[in-house]
C-alpha cells in the first residue's frame, strides 16, 4: 500500500469524492433534473394523454439509464477539468506530485465513472414512480449477463468523452454546451427511438452513429428490453469501445497539452 503511485492515486480519488460529497445537493440536482423532466413528459404525460403509445415508457427506459450515466460521467469529468485548467487552478497541486500526470487524469476519470453509476442508479426510483408498471423489463438470462459489462463500457466512454470535452471547452463556453452539445446528443441518442427504426430516415440513421449515446442506449436495450429490436450487441459494444479509444486518445493528448501549457 505504500507504493507512492497508488497512494497518490487514491488520495486524488478521495479528494474528489470528498469535494463532491460536500456538494451533494448540487450533484443530485444536476444529475436528476434532466431525466426527471424527460420521464415525466415522455414517460408519463404524453402516454397518459395518448400522444405516444402506452408502451412508450418501455421504449425509453434503457435510454433514460444510458443518458443519465453518460451525461453524469461527462459532466463529472469535464467540468472539473475545464474549471481547474482555466479558472480555479486547484488541480495544480496534484499535477505537482511526483507521479506521472496521467495519474491525475485517471483519478478524475474514475471519479467520473463512479458518479456516472450513481447517476444511472438515481434514475431508477423516478422511473419506478412515474412509469412503473408501464416499463416491461423482459429480463432474460442470456441477455442480462451483458448488463454489467455494458454499464462499465458506457461509464468508461463517458469519462473519456468528459476528458476530451473538459480539456477543450473553456469555462465561458460551458453555457453553450447545453444547447450545442448535450441537447443534440440527447435527442439524437436513440432514447425515444431505436436505431433500427430509423431506416425510414437513412441520413439521420447514419449521422447519429457519431453519437456514443446511440451505442450506449442500444446496448442497454439489448440487455434490458430484449423484446425491442436493437443493434447487435457486437455493434453497440464495438461502438462504445471504438469511441472510447478515439476520445481517450485525443483526450489524453489534450490533457498532456494542458498540463504543460497552463
Amino acid at each position: 500500500m505504500n507504493n507512492p503511485i497508488s497512494s497518490a492515486f487514491w488520495a486524488m480519488v478521495h479528494r474528489d469524492l470528498l469535494a463532491q460529497w460536500r456538494d451533494k445537493g448540487e450533484f443530485i440536482f444536476r444529475v436528476v433534473m434532466l431525466p426527471l423532466i424527460l420521464i415525466i413528459t415522455y414517460g408519463y404525460v404524453l402516454p397518459e394523454i395518448g400522444l405516444v403509445p402506452r408502451e412508450f415508457p418501455t421504449h425509453m427506459f434503457a435510454g433514460m439509464i444510458g443518458m443519465s450515466i453518460l451525461i453524469t460521467g461527462i459532466h463529472g469529468t469535464a467540468i472539473p477539468f475545464t474549471m481547474d485548467f482555466n479558472n480555479m487552478h486547484e488541480i495544480e497541486d496534484r499535477l505537482q506530485a511526483p507521479v506521472p500526470a496521467n495519474l491525475v487524469a485517471y483519478a478524475k476519470m474514475l471519479v467520473g465513472i463512479i458518479e456516472a453509476f450513481i447517476g444511472g442508479l438515481l434514475v431508477l426510483p423516478f422511473s419506478a414512480f412515474f412509469m412503473g408498471s408501464r416499463v416491461e423489463l423482459a429480463l432474460q438470462g442470456d441477455r442480462i449477463v451483458y448488463l454489467v459489462p455494458v454499464l462499465i463500457l458506457i461509464a468508461i466512454a463517458s469519462a473519456t468523452l468528459g476528458l476530451l470535452v473538459g480539456t477543450i471547452v473553456k469555462p465561458m463556453q460551458i453555457a453553450a454546451m447545453f444547447p450545442g452539445f448535450l441537447m443534440p446528443m440527447v435527442f439524437s441518442g436513440a432514447i425515444f427511438f431505436t436505431w433500427k427504426s430509423l431506416t425510414a430516415v437513412p441520413f439521420f440513421q447514419k449521422i447519429i452513429l457519431i453519437n456514443p449515446l446511440v451505442y450506449a442506449n442500444e446496448a442497454l436495450r439489448f440487455a434490458l428490453t430484449p423484446q425491442i429490436d436493437s443493434m447487435p450487441i457486437a455493434c453497440s459494444a464495438g461502438g462504445l469501445i471504438i469511441s472510447s479509444l478515439i476520445m481517450g486518445y485525443f483526450g489524453f493528448k489534450r490533457f498532456h497539452y494542458m498540463c504543460v501549457n497552463r
Binding site: N2, P4, A8, H14, L18, E90, D93, A97, P100, V260
Partner: protein
C-alpha cells in the same frame, strides 16, 4: 544517488515563446542561463512581464520550454519531470488552493500526493499551521480565507514534503508590511533548515536584504547576476543625483557629463541621472547650469544607489514604471 552537486539548480539557454491568438509571437524568455547554489536564497528580479512566472513555470515542470536545459539537483527536469517534482515545492503567483477542502486537509492531501507517511504528515501539518498562524482556522474551508491567509497556507503546503528547493512567485505581493515581515522570518527559518529558496519579486528592498544572489531580468533576458554589492558595482558610482527637467535631450546629457564631479550622465526614465564621484555635489553650480540651458528644474534629489538604480542603469527604465 550520486554525490550532492554544488548547484541545486542549473539552467542553460532556457527559452519560451508564446504564440498569441493573433499570430503575434511573444518571446517571454530569451535563452537565459544561471545557477543557484544549494542552500542559498536566490532572488529573481524583474518588472511586470519580464518573464519571471514563465521561468518559474518551466523550472517547476508546469510549462514546456522551447529549448534549453534544466537540472534540478542533478535531474534533467525536461526529461524526467516526475523525479524533478519530488525535489521541488512551488508557491504560485495566483491562488491555487483547494477551496472545497479545509486548511488542514489541503496540507494533508498534498502530503499524500507526495507519498508521505500519515503520521509524519499530521505532525508536520500541526507544526506549520501553528507556525503560519493558521491553527485556529485549520478546519475552515480555504474559500473563506483572506488573501493573506491563503498566501500563508500556500507556502505551508509547498513546504509539507520538505522540498530541496522552494520556488516562490512573488510571495509577498498583496501582503501588508506586517505579514511580509512574518513571511520573511518563516522563509529565513526554512532556509536555515536547509531549503534553497528561489523567489521572484518586484520589490527591490527584499532581495537586497535577504538574497545572496540576485538575477535581474527584463524582457525575457538576464541583465545581470550577482550579490547586491556586485550588482551595485555595475553602475558608475553609488552617489546619484536625479534631475527632473521640463525638457530633456541627449545634448543635455552630454553637457552634464562635463560638469564638475560628474562621472557619467544618462537620461533614464525621463530624468537626468548624474553619477557623481562625491557625496556632496555642488548644488548651486548644477542649478545654475540648468538655468543657463533655459530649463525649468522641477525636482532634484540625491541618493545612494539601490537595486532600483542598477535596474534603471541596465535597462533604461524604472523597475516599477507603468508598461508602455
Amino acid at each position: 544517488m550520486s554525490a550532492q552537486t554544488e548547484n541545486i539548480l542549473e539552467v542553460r539557454n532556457l527559452k519560451k515563446t508564446f504564440t498569441m491568438k493573433s499570430g503575434h509571437k511573444v518571446e517571454a524568455v530569451k535563452g537565459i542561463s544561471f545557477s543557484v547554489r544549494r542552500g542559498e536564497i536566490f532572488g529573481f528580479l524583474g518588472p511586470n512581464g519580464a518573464g519571471k512566472s514563465t521561468t518559474i513555470s518551466m523550472l517547476t515542470t508546469q510549462l514546456a520550454a522551447n529549448d534549453g536545459e534544466i537540472l534540478i539537483d542533478g535531474i534533467d527536469a525536461r526529461r524526467d519531470p516526475v523525479a524533478a517534482r519530488a525535489k521541488i515545492g512551488v508557491v504560485a503567483q495566483h491562488n491555487n488552493m483547494d477551496r472545497s477542502l479545509t486548511a488542514r486537509e489541503n496540507l494533508l492531501f498534498h502530503a499524500k500526493y507526495f507519498g508521505m507517511d500519515e503520521a509524519a504528515a499530521e505532525k508536520k501539518a500541526d507544526e506549520y499551521l501553528e507556525k503560519f498562524g493558521l491553527a485556529e482556522w485549520q478546519n475552515d474551508y480555504v474559500s473563506s480565507f483572506s488573501g493573506g491567509m491563503a498566501q500563508r497556507l500556500k507556502i505551508a503546503r509547498a513546504m509539507m514534503h520538505t522540498p530541496s528547493i522552494l520556488f516562490l512567485d512573488e510571495p509577498t505581493t498583496g501582503l501588508d508590511p506586517n505579514y511580509r515581515e512574518i513571511l520573511w522570518e518563516q522563509m529565513l527559518e526554512l532556509n536555515k533548515q536547509g531549503t534553497t529558496i528561489f523567489l521572484t519579486t518586484h520589490y527591490m528592498e527584499e532581495p537586497e536584504r535577504f538574497c545572496e544572489n540576485i538575477a535581474i531580468v527584463n524582457h525575457g533576458e538576464l541583465k545581470a547576476l550577482g550579490t547586491s554589492s556586485q550588482l551595485k558595482a555595475l553602475i558608475p558610482s553609488k552617489n546619484i543625483l536625479t534631475l527632473k527637467l521640463d525638457s530633456l535631450n541627449e545634448d543635455d546629457a552630454r553637457a552634464a557629463a562635463a560638469l564638475k564631479d560628474v562621472q557619467q550622465a544618462k537620461i533614464q526614465n525621463g530624468t537626468l541621472q548624474l553619477y557623481l564621484n562625491t557625496k556632496q555635489p555642488d548644488f548651486d553650480g548644477i542649478i545654475r547650469w540648468t538655468e543657463d540651458r533655459h530649463k525649468t528644474l522641477q525636482n532634484i534629489s540625491l541618493s545612494t544607489s539601490t537595486l532600483d538604480d542598477v535596474f534603471l542603469y541596465l535597462t533604461g527604465s524604472a523597475m516599477n514604471a507603468p508598461e508602455k
